[in-house]
Amino acid sequence: MSALLEVKNLSVDYITLNGAVRAVDDVSFSIEEEQSMGLAGESGCGKSTIAYSLMRLHRPPALIADGSIKLGGRDIIKMGEEELRQFRWDQISMVFQSAMNCLNPVVKLEKQFFEIYKNHGITKNRQEARARAEKLIEIVGIPKERLNDYPHQFSGGMRQRAVIAMALALKPKLLIMDEPTTALDTVVQREILQRVYELKKELKFSILFITHDLSLMMEFCDNVSIMYAGKIVEQAPAQTILKNPQHPYSYGLKNSFPSLHGDIGYMEGIPGSPLNMSRIPRGCRFQDRCFRAQDICFKEVPPRQQRGNDFYDCHNPMGTLTGSRN
């Protein structure tokens, strides 16, 4: 397998009245072809900010300050506006965090599909676009007649599925799903995700799956990146994160969710609250909340322990680094 997406030293700032806040700080990761990568972390840690960067959707006050993002060798950061416009959705598409609100309320669903085809030079013919849209929408389990409806006439779950169908319209190489199912009940959640993963097998795309529901992530992802306060602090195969996480934050995150296979087990939260991003301390960012913190954690930034594609940043990890499959 070769890397489809390669993100190197990505930093994203939000310019505020009190100066710039670095919401994503020097983040590097890669996603391989047909791989499913999970990105987990507490609210506000910068997950959506990364997702937006991958499609370069940031508008002021957000700003990609540094880094490179390459998909299939093409650097997204260096693209011109028109190149970018054509690149988006065609190569990378996204199911937005608020999929419920990301359809234009005054435009019929059919036309919202048509726009995709029209703007990417697939077809200018309404009938042909309609035929394509019908096929897609039936895949996600919505009757094709509903294409004549406006977004408000759909339930939340249907809107979400409609957006997923749209995201697959151009058969992208990478599908980003930013907490695609948070607003849905668990049964519908799994159903939709299962459908997406069936399609993934068929269409052979990669997935970046963002959620803070770790159990869902473990079920659907090959690899998982754990993010804390603008940094990816650990990356490893899902099973490793589940059974043998190294970073104390990964460990805490894992334990703050009920266990996967029914055994309620014990569940504990991580003490304290997420880091205030405008006041980043010296040393490790997790220091104040970490139960394994040592003196050095307050002085020095933890070095990266790398093994193959896997890594973690910690002075005092949970245990021996388990191997990865590469």
Binding site: Y52, M55, L57, P60, E81, R85, Q86, R88, W89, D90, S93, M94, F96, Q97, S98, N101, C102, L103, N104, P105, V106, V107, K108, E115, I116, N119, H120, Y150, H152, Q153, V163, M166
Partner: protein
């Protein structure tokens, strides 16, 4: 459809309320309008018999003998039949006749100003929001704010003195809606003359409404922060389309709702404008009616203003219905 009926019901109630208020106000005022009219009639013709009194009472819908409820229903009935009584001051003319001319000029003035200011405000609001933080944006923001705070009279007088009455720049007429005694050779000439006379008052009203830029700008900025804009951009929709059919289209919805309110302000403001520019609209008729204590005419004008307001509201509702699919298929 449901929505339309609901709105129509509301308008009917509002109209009846206005008619009711209209019925009671003169009755609560000191002095008896019929008596006053009689006194005037007596001065001019010298003799009044019982028949005349009865006729006058009937004309004005005033009666000392009938119970008030009965006269109320009679009044409401006659209003709906288009029988609004006679004007005191312009006697042989009915109230409707006396206010029709003024009404048509006011509708013309307001309609024109409304369309122009709607276009200008929304276009500039859209551009300001799209170029948020630019010099143009600051200019429009400050300018709009400034305009909103100038009293109507001050601006009207300023414009009128500079461009109508001053020696140097007074290139526009200082009054009337058309040149008196002017015999236009063709329709074009007539339209030109009307536009020439309407130019200053319309400009003045449009300027006073410029704060609408801020409203549209705010709506637009709200819309631009919505997720469907980001999704549109991600889908590859070109920027100008995002601005128009994604942003502006949705930002217009709340504007359509406030349009009706705006018309209310305009109606109030047009009174001042018409007086300053000596424009023969409803405002001027109103002043005339006040001067001569012409109660039926005043009532008629109030009623007509109500009808104008309600029609404007109805048009705004219909616009909203066309623009917003969420209102259309209710109960589905």
């Amino acid at each position: 459809m449901n929505y339309i009926f609901k709105r129509l019901g509301f308008y009917l109630i509002a109209f009846v309320a206005a008619v009711t208020i209209n019925f009671f106000i003169p009755r609560l005022m000191p002095g008896d309008p019929v008596q006053m009219y009689m006194a005037k009639l007596y001065q001019t013709s010298g003799k009044i018999d019982a028949e005349t009194i009865a006729a006058v009472e009937k004309l004005f819908g005033f009666s000392k003998t009938k119970p008030i409820i009965e006269s109320y229903f009679e009044y409401v009935g006659s209003i709906f039949q288009g029988n609004w009584g006679f004007s005191f001051s312009q006697y042989p003319l009915t109230v409707i006749q006396a206010l029709t001319r003024g009404l048509s000029w006011t509708v013309f003035l307001m309609g024109t100003s409304l369309i122009i200011s709607f276009l200008i405000n929304n276009l500039l609001g859209i551009v300001a929001a799209w170029r948020r933080g630019s010099k143009l944006d600051s200019f429009l923001t400050v300018g709009g704010q400034l305009m909103a705070n100038i009293p109507a009279v001050v601006l009207a007088l300023l414009i009128s003195y500079t461009f109508a009455r001053s020696e140097k720049f007074g290139i526009f007429p200082a009054g009337y809606a058309v040149t008196p005694l002017f015999r236009p050779a063709n329709v074009l000439q007539y339209i030109g003359d009307v536009a020439y006379h309407a130019f200053l008052p319309v400009t003045c009203i449009v300027m006073l409404q410029l704060n609408g830029i801020m409203g549209m700008r705010a709506n637009m900025i709200n819309q631009l922060g919505e997720d469907f804009i980001a999704m549109g951009r991600a889908k590859g929709v070109p920027e100008y389309k995002l601005m128009i059919s994604y942003g502006a289209r949705n930002a217009l919805l709340p504007v359509a709702t406030t349009l009706a309110m705006q018309i209310g302000f305009m109606l109030g403001g047009s009174l001042i404008i018409e007086v300053v520019f000596n424009y023969p609209g409803l405002g001027k008729v109103m002043i005339g009616a006040l001067d001569s204590r012409d109660y039926p005419l005043m009532q008629g004008i109030l009623l007509m203003s109500t009808i104008l307001m309600l029609s404007a509201n109805f048009i705004a509702d219909m616009m909203l219905l066309i623009l917003d699919p969420r209102l259309r298929k209710q109960g589905r």
